[in-house]
């Protein structure tokens, strides 16, 4: 047992039954992730990327195999325990930004801390800190509808990091953004990864994202076909204007 292991999947299999027919969304996937990784799942549409993230994020359960996340066996968790794991240790970033429209930027980022029962004064400080990270402190009182797509995704990042989770799962985070905004948020995430040591796992087919990855796992038809590690991500040089 490695002590500093974050995620370990053993023969992780997810089967969807469509009537008679059985669909293997994931087939015996063996993967492990350590702290501080900046990894991405790539592959064609329908290859099982989202399915993998959802299971690791305890939003779904495997059909077969074992999944260990932060020392917990996902397949054995109750609803409550799964929610607890997500609440404390896992942040999600989705393709659509999914901010709560009636709440301000500040309140959106505050929500995970309310769930955690953090006292108000500490919440305020931590929310502002998270907003500083994504350079939106001055927009704290705006509504999501008043922000651009890129800004919304930055708020979503702030919301994911505000509780300082060990793991952030990002499913196509750049799919709705233009190139400039995509690079922008990727650089923020790289910085978070470097400075806070947060582990990032992406699901993407966006070349821009792939350019930043330190590890690229290729899925085809629910199977891992390639698992590559880059010592220094190729794109980083070009964009390394130093934060």
């Amino acid at each position: 047992m490695e002590n500093n292991r974050l995620i370990l999947t053993q023969k992780l299999t997810k089967i969807y039954s469509m009537g008679q027919h059985q669909l293997y969304a994931l087939k015996e996937v063996d993967l492990s992730f350590g702290p501080g990784e900046f990894a991405g799942l790539v592959g064609p549409s329908g290859s099982g990327k989202t399915t993998f993230l959802n299971i690791v994020g305890s939003l779904d359960i495997p059909s077969k195999g074992k999944v260990e996340v932060l020392g917990r066996q996902i397949e054995t968790l109750s609803h409550k325990q799964a929610a607890e794991l997500r609440k404390r240790h896992i942040g999600f970033i989705f393709q659509t930004f999914n901010l709560l429209p009636v709440y301000t930027v500040f309140e959106n980022v505050e929500f995970p801390l309310i769930l955690l029962g953090v006292p108000a004064s500490e919440r305020r400080q931590r929310v502002m800190e998270a907003l500083e990270w994504v350079k939106l402190a001055d927009r704290a009182n705006s509504r999501p509808s008043q922000l651009s797509g890129g800004e919304c995704q930055r708020v979503a990042i702030a919301r994911a990091i505000v509780k300082k989770p060990a793991l952030i799962l990002a499913d196509e985070p750049t799919a709705n953004l233009d190139a400039q905004n995509s690079h922008n948020i990727l650089q923020i995430m790289v910085r978070l990864n470097q400075e806070l040591g947060t582990t990032f796992i992406f699901a993407t087919h966006d070349e821009k994202v792939i350019g930043y990855l330190k590890r690229k796992i290729t899925l085809v038809d629910g199977k891992v076909t390639k698992d590559e590690i880059f010592s220094s991500p190729p794109v980083m040089e070009g964009h390394h204007e130093s934060p």
Binding site: N54, D60, K80, A83, E84, Q95, N98, Y103, P112
Partner: protein, 425 residues
């Protein structure tokens, strides 16, 4: 968390407005209807008590058996002795003897020949012999339409309607023709010094009101009266106390073997009043039930639509680690907050309208025309303490049912299923 929910409710008006208005409206109607039914109930009970049944009534057993025929030959005798006993045994009650009688009113022309005749229903109460509670019980000062109240023997009042019909002016003398207690013809001239309008159809058609002593003289009923009515001194009927008094009285005064021994009945024992009031009560119970049902369906739908619109929010909150049960409860709490606000506003509105209906009253004479129950033509709402509470039954009940049902979809669905739908959303 509650503060967080409140903010959401107040900002997302489109989500909360329809449920809020639904609840307001339903609660308001419930409060008004309830107060109105309470008013009707009180109207029937009060009118019946004042003009016919009393809070308590004593008759002979024989008289009681056919009371609607007014069998004065079976009247109570030795009334003054009985009155003295009653005053001693039941000092909390105001006792007053009454005689009802039927007959004809005969109006002569100048030559003394009959000009017109009309059937009358007579009521004799103590008008002239103080202290008498009858002026207050019958509210005579207010009922007086023309003329004045009787001041000496031989003076009487008749209903304004009858006076108009027969062309009798205050001060005219007319003859009443009736039957004495022993069954012979009773004739007497009375001076009608005033006319009255009680606003109760049954009475206003053909009532004449005379002094008890006159009636005893005319009808040969010395120290006798058809009935003795009892009223709680503060005017408020108390069923439990009344029943106790009835039992106590009947146990000591009434002998089942003696048809002429007195028997006491309470307001609710007479004329099927208890059944009538029970019916009124079941009507408003049904109304409230229907409101709960109808509003529940509307709120259920509103909740479903709201939850569909909020799929994104629900998914994100689950992803952020909110427990499904917690989310479910928060959706219900949110609805309950709206339900509470709606119920409060609806209740205030309803009480406002009910108050207006209580003060102003609505004249329902036209639909009362053939009614035989004692009910005042001017119906009023009556606000009781329960009026302020009753709206919360459908208000909160429907909210709870509606939101529980609509949020059940969220609760029962697999988290992964919700997330999938979120992706599509």
């Amino acid at each position: 968390m509650i503060r967080f929910l409140l903010k959401g409710i107040l900002r997302d008006r489109s989500r909360s407005l329809l449920p809020f208005l639904t609840i307001c409206f339903g609660v308001m109607l419930t409060v008004v209807l309830y107060s109105w039914m309470k008013g009707a109930e009180a109207n029937i009970a009060e009118s019946s008590a004042r003009f016919d049944y009393g809070h308590l009534k004593i008759m002979t057993r024989a008289y009681a058996e056919e009371a609607e025929l007014i069998p004065n030959e079976l009247a109570l005798v030795g009334v003054s002795e009985l009155m003295a006993k009653l005053a001693k045994d039941f000092p909390q009650i105001e006792w007053t003897p009454r005689i009802k009688f039927g007959g004809l009113l005969d109006l002569p022309d100048e030559k003394g020949e009959t000009l017109v005749q009309a059937p009358i229903s007579g009521l004799a109460v103590n008008l002239l012999n103080p202290p008498t509670p009858e002026k207050d019980i019958l509210n005579l000062e207010n009922a007086l339409a023309r003329g004045r109240l009787p001041q000496e023997a031989g003076e009487a009042l008749l209903s304004e309607e009858l006076a108009q019909r027969l062309g009798i002016k205050p001060g005219s003398v007319a003859t009443i023709i009736s039957q004495t207690m022993t069954g012979s013809l009773a004739l007497a001239n009375l001076r009608f010094v005033g006319t009255i309008r009680f606003g109760i159809q049954v009475l206003d058609a053909q009532a004449i009101l005379i002094d008890l002593a006159d009636a005893q003289r005319i009808l040969d009923m010395e120290d006798a009266s058809g009935e003795i009515l009892g009223f709680f001194k503060d005017g408020i009927f108390r069923q439990k106390v009344a029943e106790a008094i009835v039992n106590q009285f009947n146990a000591s005064f009434s002998q089942s073997s003696d048809r002429f021994s007195p028997i006491m009945k309470s307001l609710l024992d007479q004329g099927g009043l208890a059944d009538l009031l029970a019916m009124v009560q079941s009507v408003y119970s049904i109304i409230i039930f229907v409101f709960v049902l109808a509003m529940s369906v509307v709120l259920w739908n509103a909740g479903l639509m709201g939850n569909i619109r909020r799929f994104g929010e629900i998914g994100v909150r689950l992803a952020m680690g909110e427990d499904k049960g917690h989310l479910y409860r928060s959706l219900i709490s949110e609805s309950l907050i709206i339900g509470c606000l709606g119920s409060i506003v609806g209740t205030l509105g309803g009480l406002g309208i009910a108050y207006y209906l209580q003060v102003k009253g609505v004249n329902v004479a036209s639909i009362m025309e053939s009614s035989s129950i004692f009910i005042s033509e001017v119906m009023r709402a009556r606000i009781t303490w329960f009026s302020a509470v009753v709206g919360f039954i459908p208000g909160l009940g429907a909210t709870l049912i509606g939101s529980t049902l609509s949020a059940l979809g969220v609760y029962r669905r697999q988290t992964s299923g919700l997330m999938k739908e979120l992706e599509a959303y």
